[in-house]
Amino acid sequence: MTREISRRSILAAIPLAALGVSALTACGNGAPAAAGGPASPVSQSDIDAAMKKDTKLTFWTWVPDIQKEVNLFQAKYPAVKVEVVNVGQGGAHYQKLRAAIQAGKGAPDVVQMEFDKLPSFTLTDSLMDLTPYGIGDLKSDYPGWVWGGVTPGGKGIYGVPQDTGPMGMLYREDLFAAAGVTVPKTWDDFAAAVTAYRGKNASSMLTNWAPSSEANMLALFWQAGGRPFSFDGTKSVKINLTGDAGCKKVTAYWNDLFRSGNIGNEPDFADAWYQALNNGKYAAWLTGAWGPVFLQGTAKSTAGKWRVAPLPQWDSSSPASGNYGGSTDAVLKTSQNPIAAAMLARFINTDEKAALTLANEQFLFPPSTKTLNNPAFSDASASFYGGQKVNKEFTDISRTVQEGFQFLPFNDYAATSYDKTMGKAIGDRGDLNAALSAWQDDLVQYAKGQGFTIAS
């Protein structure tokens, strides 16, 4: 594959906050939807009738070459015409979506929606509950944590999972060997490896952790059992970073790493960082399942030297991971053709051929157990990783991600608030523990100002 394809494809999965893109969210209380779905289940005959009717759907997404899957859909349902529109990636995408929702017209029928953005759109009542369209039948096809991502607050199903990013560790086998460092199994091993590696290398470090890394850090909290946020779906929100043992443990751990000066703290997805991955300045990258293909395109000169391993563990007897990135396809409440829209969201992500194409040609890490276990996906070996079965590794990691992690219904704000508190401490190698409190306080203040009540 070419570098171009991998860079583009990864943009589908990467949490865009990590790219320094801020989202426009000039949104109010969602205007009461005009159309909206029914409350009771839609019968198969209704669905059949709707799929035979001449219908035109609009689908906003930035997944490259999604037309491939859409073509499969149209071959099955010739009466339904789908117009795919890429209105921009990440920030620009949500900005236009919120503007269209607020204007009451111009919104698409189906829309790509990242897991961490979903609650902010259910908050404004902009997404259609897909339960009446039989999407609930799919529940058993997904790991519990993936399903939890499309059912925020446990009330209704607001998207069909498209791709995920369970976290693992990519590392340079050659550099590890040269420094006499073995692959760390636990976080204690990892800290020791960081020190040992630095001792052998004056100008390079074991790894880097970027300042603007909210989505990445939340995945580490997730792995450590941290569940700092929740939202009851109406007005009560829980923000408990400083009282959560998992969050505190992770923060204190990284505070020590940064203070030691033995890991990097430079911004990721920037030129210097790309260079660093190429020239061995960093020997490991802790990232989501979309990372391997991305790295393959970015650090070409290091082909064959990288390997994949699970994240270091807090408790090696019960392996765990967290999710970093990934998205879903959701249906807007304003859609005039809710049945066809729901069927499109379902088809492109769950039809066997479509799902496999997304996984193998567009390199989206598949959410469904069926695709993960499909040998056509999991048996692929990558020469960039010395012939290792990278997909299989991440499939195993995906199984270890625990359920119950929730995002705030204002995650955009949470990410920028992280930047000015935690991110600043990372950049300055300052006190990360104090920064966690500052982040907590800032989020609580914002939530109160927006009229939320704070659950304890």
């Binding site: 320094g20 801020s22 989202a23 426009l24 969210t25 000039a26 949104c27 109010g28 209380n29 900005q95 908050l123 404004t124 970027a210 300042p211 603007s212 007005k235 911004p267 920037a270 030129d271 210097a272 260079q275 660093a276 300045k281 219904p409 204002f410 955009d412 704000y413 920028t416 930047d419 000015k420 991110g423 600043k424 990372i426 950049g427 300055d428 914002y446 100002g449 927006q450 009229g451 939320f452």
Partner: protein, 307 residues
């Protein structure tokens, strides 16, 4: 007396001619007025209207009078941004305009070879969009691979960190100066070219040196252009957005989302979902800019009267 005795008929034709002139003037300025009203006046009024409300994610919209303005006046993010831009103004604008004036005078003196080439060379950065310029400088400032860092490394010195918290404002000043010296130079140079040559001849007959001519004739003669460029620069400083916003990607710890008032307003509106407060911030920023511009103009006028 003669006017009063003018026959009424003549006066009438004069009025008709005048009215026609008015009509032509209004017709010709109509396209501007339409666009101005639709694109500037109406949004401004709407933003002013918005700034008196508060919209919450939970609870909806309520009228809050001047609360948003009161909040802004005690908001460290807003005040910090304005203060930072004031510092920017005090340091960067004199340096930039001084350089522009120097280049304009040197070019105007005609003592330079390759004059056209140099004029174009100084002006060229202005033709590069600020976004591109910032990306380019971002690379040049790079701690690992930037040319300055590599030079320092070759000399065995520690690499300068242009993007560290204390330095980054000056790095931004450098980008803006680089971009706008040429533009201001052209404005001043054009003004210099319109000074009648007789003045120079008279000065030379009186035995004035080139330096003396520049100081006593040229600079006072282009005071209008200097004032214009100063006011443009004041406005530009307070509205700084592109450069810090792009450098944020590579220096997120040094440049916060509230680094400049404009960035803060953007963040409030598009991330915090608080466009009402953002509108109030934008209005206050407008007032600050007007006040500072007015002070600059007033000082200049007073000086003119004194001299």
């Amino acid at each position: 007396m003669t006017q009063q005795t003018r026959p009424p008929l003549q006066r009438k034709t004069a009025n008709v001619a005048k009215r026609r002139q008015y009509a032509a003037a209004y017709t010709l300025s109509m396209p501007f007025m339409v666009v101005f009203i639709l694109m500037i006046a109406v949004p401004l009024i709407y933003a002013g209207y918005l700034s008196f409300f508060k919209k919450q994610l939970i609870g909806g919209v309520s009228f809050v009078g001047l609360d948003n303005y009161g909040r802004a006046l005690t908001d460290p993010s807003f005040l910090g941004g304005v203060g930072r831009m004031a510092l920017f103004l005090v340091v960067q604008v004199p340096v930039m305009l001084g350089l522009s004036l120097l280049f304009a005078l040197v070019l105007d003196s005609g003592m330079l070879r390759l004059q056209r080439f140099i004029r174009l060379g100084v002006f060229l950065p202005y033709a590069i969009p600020s976004v591109i310029a910032t990306l380019m400088w971002g690379y040049l400032y790079g701690k690992d691979f930037g040319p300055f860092a590599q030079l320092a490394k070759a000399l065995g010195l520690p690499a300068p960190d242009f993007l560290a918290g204390g330095n980054v404002l000056f790095s931004i000043m450098n980008i803006v100066t680089w971009g706008f010296v040429g533009y201001n130079m052209i404005v001043m140079y054009a003004a210099l070219r319109s000074i009648p040559a007789e003045l120079y001849e008279a000065a030379r007959v009186d035995g004035a040196s080139e330096w003396r001519v520049a100081w006593s004739i040229k600079i006072p003669a282009i005071r209008g252009a200097l004032l214009l460029t100063t006011i443009f620069s004041v406005i530009g400083s307070f509205q700084l957005f592109n450069e810090p916003n792009l450098l944020r990607v590579i220096a997120p710890a040094a440049i916060g989302q509230d680094y400049t008032p404009n960035m803060y307003a953007y963040q409030l509106s598009f991330v915090n979902q608080d466009s009402n407060y953002a509108a109030a911030i934008a209005f206050l920023l407008g007032i600050v800019i007007m006040a500072v511009s007015y002070v600059v103009q007033l000082t200049a006028n007073r000086k003119e009267k004194e001299s």
